[in-house]
Subunit: 469 residues, 2 copies
């Protein structure tokens, strides 16, 4: 693959995912093809969340005084909040923030909603745009100033244990979601200095892009009682006493789409899994001098049959060379191509060509079994793409035992490094600076007798580090 | 019905549609029940639009200079645009508007997208939040400062005729949509002084709320070449010459949900059509001392069966009086209640009670025909609600022939008045002032010999007027 960043920008344009020419830096236009990928991806997530969350929608604007209430939280965001100061030609009495995230929009309302222990747990989510005045270099879908697809869940619980359980449940939700998408990840507990502003602790999902840098694709925060105390979210417990609630929140963004594109793509362009592809199949007629009408007619019926079964299918009947069609649909990542020529019809066959591995097969066109065969092929593609992505991901996680090795590995290979760590903030920050990496977080406890790779003190944790986006 | 405004506010709260306590005037929270009604409503619209429009998503923020490019347009909006002036602690070089509508966000991009006549027509839509710094009294879903459900379509065409045709097509789209929802409307051509800023002409849909005032629920604008010239949207025609494109745009907002609630509701609360109801049916077990388990078991199976058929159904097995359940679900507008008691099971019957007209029936519980019977009952409810709404709407349209009659009718009855009009702006504005109404617009040509109701000159148009929201 050519340089990833260039490839990524090109494919966004060529496959008509995003138009980056909008006249504000870091804010982009979702084009029809991109919008469809986004929609199918969101539908998968919503189906999972809808099982036990309620979808809601809060206002975009947050009054200055609400945003400022939680001191640690506002400190984490104040340098990157956009401010609305005027309505028409009038200066507003109180300025409004464009939400950078919605804790301070939601929690004043939660304070009104939560009354009794019987109201709990409460679990909500919303899909919204959020804004960050990023000073770092922006990149479409990866680091933007308008995050268009922020999917944030917020839960309220009666006890610390229930909040801890919800963190585990949220992790399962995202595992299921990324499994459907075939996106591999590590899960780690972010170091103290990198947790969500206001959280007790943050669990994070990171994946790896082809340039060897990790991308944070989801986070789950246990908020403890911090916000409940700030926003006075209390409930009446069994014995009538008022207790502060416990909260969690978790979310993900447009970066999920960046991962789908970056991880599965190749030199030929996009490679989409049937789960999110705008078209899951394209039918290409192979027409010779004779029998053209018969082929077109067969293809039309095939399209109709597949559509009737709920597949997203396109019949490409343009009068251009088949090769040009192959090229285009491969670039756009359509998971399966069905080719039909006169000989195939005579032999009662359809040629299937997989986008993910190029495999070409002759599938029996038996009305009894065809839909079943196509369905299993689709499932197989999903599974294979998942496996392939996990395989290369795992190959890029390396255990390293000295700081020299870290530098060498990072320079030559990139990827994720697993190491033993004392857990001290000063040591971690020193390591980040020396090796030019970020500590992603803690995965597990160190084995007895292990020492910290950086400082030599007894190790507490097995941790991960990487160059990050 | 009690005073409409009070009823409306109460039902938004009681049925958990919207929470109006958010700490910014005119900006509200969609609660889970409201969000579901909104979602089902949007899905109906999207299904219609998706037939020949592509869904896209443009940024919220519009640079000041783009917004200012179209002089008439910006004049129409400048007094009510929210401005972002700061990013973090830094003042921005160029301020950004929160979109009041998206012409000036989209059309600079259209200028890049439209190249040749073969690119046309282009038809896009998006569902977004838009902002208006309203100085008038705000009302939830009716006049708000954050419109959360702005569904705007924008099309580009090669000729004036095609743009005119698209206006007709857009009107058909909205007719289909409102038909599905059972919302009655008039369609009229807005007077010159009330058209969309920048449009050649505006066609508008108005419905009527129970307080006798009309509510604009959708508009369709023929933009001619005004924006194409401002934003340089040109295409290469057949002979290679560059021509300015023709454009239309059309949209609707949260007001559709206000109409659903206001038009079908009654003293008992919400009354939802099966098309948009969060729950289309609620199953209430009628339990006596004996046979309780059998009833619960039957209800559970019934719920499962109906869910399996794709119905949105809820089994209310709470241990409270059936009467309390009736009251609650009626207030929330569930279209159909299924009651099941031991005697019904013995008789192989289910009791159905319609929300819209209170009709109670014993439906045979025959596994062969039950789903079909329920499906037709659902359809019948939809049709009957539509008919009923249209009937009362048409009763409120009155033809009036003198200005005294206008005042009397408006004071005593409200509603919509049809009248003959000369069509002159000065006469129209005089009429608006004298009678305290708004001219909605023109419906058709006057018959020969008719005179203007206001000024006595020969009449040109049959027009509509009303007190409006």
């Amino acid at each position: 693959m050519t340089e990833f960043s260039e490839w990524f920008h090109n494919i966004l344009e060529e496959a008509e995912i995003i138009d980056t020419r909008y006249p504000i830096k870091g804010m982009h236009v979702w084009l029809p093809q991109g919008f469809k990928i986004r929609k199918h991806t969101l539908n998968i997530l919503k189906e999972i969340l809808d099982e036990d969350h309620e979808e809601v929608l809060f206002p975009l604007l947050i009054p200055e005084d609400e945003l400022a209430k939680e001191a640690i939280h506002v400190k984490g965001f104040e340098s990157e909040v956009y401010w609305v100061t005027h309505g028409g030609l009038t200066e507003l009495n109180k300025k409004f923030a464009l939400r950078p995230t919605s804790e301070t929009a939601m929690y004043p309302m939660f304070s009104l909603w939560v009354r009794s222990h019987t109201d709990l747990p409460m679990k909500f989510y919303q899909v919204v745009n959020t804004f960050r005045y990023e000073t770092k270099h922006t990149r479409p879908l990866i680091r933007v100033r308008e995050i268009t697809t922020f999917t944030e869940a917020h839960t309220v619980h009666a006890t610390r244990e229930e909040a801890d359980m919800q963190v585990k449940r949220a992790i399962e939700i995202y595992e299921t979601f990324f499994h459907e998408l075939g996106i591999p990840y590590t899960i780690s507990k972010r170091p103290e200095w990198d947790k969500f502003p206001g959280a007790d602790y943050t669990m994070a999902f990171d994946t790896l892009l082809p340039d060897g840098k990790t991308l944070q694709i989801a986070t789950v925060h246990n908020l403890g009682q911090t916000f409940a105390k700030t926003f006075n979210i209390t409930y009446e417990a069994l014995e009538g006493e008022h207790e502060y609630a416990y909260q969690t929140c978790y979310g993900l963004s447009d970066r999920v789409i960046a991962s789908i594109i970056g991880i599965h793509g190749d030199e030929a362009g996009l490679c989409l899994s049937p789960a999110v592809a705008p078209y899951q199949m394209v039918i290409v007629p192979i027409i010779f001098k004779k029998g053209g009408e018969e082929v077109l007619d067969f293809c039309r019926k095939l399209e109709e049959k597949l559509k009737g079964e709920g597949f997203r299918v396109h019949f490409d009947d343009r009068d251009i060379r088949a090769g040009k069609k192959y090229y285009e649909w491969e670039m756009r990542g359509v998971p399966l191509r069905l080719e039909v020529g006169p000989r195939d019809i005579a032999n009662k066959k359809v040629v299937t060509v997989r986008r993910d591995n190029g495999e070409k097969e002759f599938m029996d066109f038996n009305p009894e079994t065809f839909i079943e065969d196509i369905t299993s092929l689709m499932e197989k593609i999903n599974i294979d793409m998942n496996k392939k992505a996990w395989k290369s991901f795992e190959d890029e996680i390396r255990t390293v035992e000295s700081i020299e090795e870290v530098k060498k590995t990072m320079d030559e290979l990139g990827g994720i490094i697993s190491f033993d760590w004392c857990g001290d903030e000063s040591c971690g920050k020193d390591l980040e600076e020396t090796a030019g990496v970020d500590v992603l977080g803690i995965q597990s406890e160190s084995e007895d007798g292990k020492v910290c790779m950086n400082c030599g003190k007894p190790a507490k944790h097995v941790a991960l580090m990487a160059k990050t986006y």
